[in-house]
């Protein structure tokens, strides 16, 4: 039972953040401050490999559904506050914005991700509608089809190859996702013999809910409120989510495309990151069975691990530091996790990235790389 109580941390944090926004002034920073404080503290803790209590799923489902609805209410509340001119000083304006960016990313985005994978129609729709909060209701299409099937291959727009820095990845992933979702949607409406504008096509109703969401922000917060709300969604969950993706599969390779193995993802298993991100940082379990509720994900004790998530997030912004950390991790992965075939792909990827020094037999790897397609 206590396991379920732990999940209350997120709704409590949301409520505290909302209270800080309501108080305004320097308190607008409250949510951000507490969240960063917890994550910094978490960076000093040992990984948590415990398995959650799975006896009362309705308790978990209840908490996270409320959390998602709270996240939705919060963005409306924020738009209303902005519309009212509630944040007077520049510092409080920035504080409110940053608090919203981080809480929506760390606390709200994982729930909607979990929910749109669920089978239960109520939860699935909650997650689907919730995707407006990452300002990308099309996300599900590429995520479920392309990302889960093409994990750690260059055909997955979510995947960053060795040597790619965050900024290049962001440009590439957005373009790739748009192209891929268009391609997939088109295949679906063609197969179902529908016109592209048919309201039953997923992309059409997704445009509808996004327009409805912006309309609602506008209604509640006027032009400035809507602008701030949309800004939060785009700069917060939308972009930070891509940074999460950037870290989670960075540089890993597969010799069995379409067949996921636990070694094909990194994990972040520190206790608070697990809780706040709703266990999705046990990423292996999610790829093994994407329908599994996140509380059932079992931490992969022996699988590949990165440093604590906040540290990775911060390193990602400074490419030389990121590369310094990840090169060492990849060097280890190549030797301990890769199959012999994957090791050869990794060696070629190292050369592509200009990291040929990571290879054990550089001249042999270079010779193979020179002839490969």
């Amino acid at each position: 039972m206590l396991d379920y109580a732990k999940y209350l941390l997120s709704p409590v944090l949301l409520a505290t953040s909302a209270y800080g926004l309501w108080l305004g002034g320097p308190h607008a920073w409250l949510g951000f401050g507490i969240l960063i404080g917890i994550l910094l503290f978490d960076a000093f803790l040992e990984p948590d490999h415990s398995v959650r209590d799975t006896r009362f799923p309705w308790l978990y489902d209840g908490i996270v559904s409320v959390q998602l609805i709270m996240g939705f209410a919060m963005i409306l509340f924020y738009a209303w506050l902005v519309g009212q001119g509630h944040f007077e000083t520049t510092a409080s304006k920035i504080g409110g914005f940053v608090t919203m960016m981080f809480t929506q990313f760390v606390i709200v985005a994982p729930v909607l991700h979990e929910m749109f994978h669920r089978e239960n129609l109520f939860h699935r729709w909650l997650g689907r509608i919730g995707m407006v909060m990452i300002f990308d209701p099309w996300r599900e299409i590429t995520h479920v089809v392309t990302h889960h099937i093409h994990t750690v291959t260059p055909d997955d727009p979510d995947y960053a190859r060795r040597g790619e820095n965050l900024y290049r990845h962001l440009a590439k992933t957005f373009a790739g996702q748009i192209a891929e979702s268009y391609h997939l949607e088109r295949r679906m409406w063609t197969k179902r013999e529908r016109a592209w504008w048919d309201p039953r096509n997923a992309w059409v109703w997704r445009v509808g809910i996004l327009a409805g969401f912006v309309g609602l922000l506008w209604l509640i917060g006027g032009g400035s409120g809507a602008l701030a709300g949309v800004g939060v969604c785009l700069l917060g969950p939308r972009i930070l989510l891509e940074i999460f993706n950037y870290t989670q599969h960075y540089g890993l390779v597969t010799a069995t495309p379409g067949r996921f193995e636990p070694r094909h993802t990194w994990n972040h298993l520190t206790p608070f990151v697990r809780l706040l991100a709703l266990e999705i940082t046990n990423h292996t379990g999610h790829h093994e069975d994407s329908y599994k509720p996140f509380y059932e994900l079992v931490p992969d004790r022996t699988g590949p691990k990165q440093p604590q998530f906040l540290i990775c997030l911060l390193l990602a912004f400074v490419p030389p530091l990121w590369f310094m950390m990840i090169r060492e991790k990849l060097h280890h992965w190549d030797r301990h996790y890769a199959t012999p075939q994957e090791r050869e792909i990794a060696e070629a990827e190292n050369i592509r990235a200009g990291w040929g020094d990571l290879n054990e037999r550089p001249s042999l790897a270079q010779a193979r790389f020179a002839v490969a397609p």
Binding site: M188, A255, T256, Y291, P373
Partner: protein, 359 residues
């Protein structure tokens, strides 16, 4: 309809509370089996040694197409993105390789009474590279370990250090239970193609290649009947393998091979077809067809698409024969439709579609 159920314990990963509840899979006219809740139908069946029809295992070939009569599954991806047609979707067809089992199921699928050879990864080196007419490469690999495969199967090839992975059918006869250390493929050189374009550009002998296989079940028809083989281009590769296998196993049966290419200059593998005829004099008939041969070129054989040769004048009792069809997707589909219209039961038409395969 007889439906009987056999329970086989088969855990493929750490059991969870949910998995403890196995789901009974009742297969119309066949023995049933049990799959853990949330497991993939095809993988679980194969893991239990059940010969479930399949090929790619990733939702692209359509071989594991199954009719779901009752019960509940969750598709890994929307079936509208798979090779299932709109008609198939309406008729309740699913792909077993993409279906997570959620409850007891009743399904219709033709299980084969044949032991499967599980695929494995073996590394090797290109030992033979020869350009044949029509821009086809006769590729031979020397493997570091022996490989066992059956007639008509295929393997996925990837050059060392590359993500690019493509499927190619073995053209040799099945090697028997000791396996073989040398395998051959016929690869059509598509100049812009990532794999075949690379392979065709220059002699690639000595290059290290990873092979995963065997996959596919096209040749696994154990009934002694006349075999009608229809091949478009490099589709002849698995046909050569199947034909040799059947000539050996069914000494009384004949084989007709309809082989379509564009022009006379594109006719390749004729030496291999002749060798087949030599193996069983009088039992092999080869009908080459040219689709783009200029009029008046002196070619006095058949012309047109391969479907043009498929009529009652072919002299085969089609409702009593088995068919093996291989080549590009539109050709295979046209042949399947034609043969069904000529009275061949759908269940006896075995096909492999050379669809773009892989990343």
């Amino acid at each position: 309809m007889s439906v009987d159920t056999l329970t086989v314990p088969g855990e493929t990963r750490a059991p969870t509370r949910e998995d403890a509840r196995g789901c009974r899979i009742a297969v119309a006219s066949e023995r049933g089996f049990t799959v853990g809740r949330n497991e993939l139908l095809l993988l679980s069946a194969l893991g239990q040694g059940i010969n479930y029809p399949h090929s790619c295992r990733v939702g692209t070939c359509g071989r594991c197409k199954t009719r779901l009569v009752s019960g509940r599954i969750s598709p890994l991806v929307d079936f509208a993105l798979s090779p299932l047609t709109n008609r198939d979707l309406k008729d309740g067809y699913i792909l077993a390789c993409q279906a997570k089992v959620r409850s007891d199921l009743e399904i219709e699928v033709g299980l084969l009474d044949h032991r499967v050879t599980l695929p494995r990864s073996i590394v090797g080196e290109i030992s033979g590279w020869r350009i044949l007419p029509g821009g086809v490469i006769d590729l031979r690999l020397a493997l570091e370990e022996p490989l066992v495969f059956e007639a008509g199967q295929y393997a996925a090839l990837a050059v060392s250090g590359s993500f690019v992975r493509r499927s190619f059918s073995f053209y040799d006869a099945a090697p028997g239970s000791d396996g073989t250390r040398e395998v051959g493929f016929l690869v059509k050189h598509l100049p812009g193609g990532r794999f075949s374009g690379w392979l065709g550009r220059q002699d690639r002998r000595g290059v290290r290649i990873w092979l995963e296989g065997p996959f596919g079940q096209m040749g696994l028809d154990d009934t002694p009947r006349h075999a009608l083989c229809v091949a478009g281009g490099t589709g002849i590769a698995p046909i050569l393998s199947i034909a040799e296998d059947r000539l050996r196993r069914f000494p009384a049966e004949g084989i007709t091979i309809v082989f379509g290419v564009r022009t006379r200059a594109d006719l390749f593998a004729l030496d291999r077809l002749e060798r087949l005829s030599g193996l069983a004099p009088g039992r092999v008939r080869v009908v080459p067809l040219l689709s783009h041969e200029p009029a008046g070129s002196g070619w006095d054989g058949a012309r047109g698409l391969v479907t043009a040769a498929l009529d009652r004048d072919l002299g085969i009792d089609l409702p009593e024969a088995s068919a093996f069809v291989c080549g590009a997707l539109p050709m295979v589909e046209a042949v399947e439709t034609r043969l069904a219209a000529l009275g061949m039961p759908r269940g006896r038409i075995h096909a492999d579609k050379f669809e773009p395969s892989g990343l």
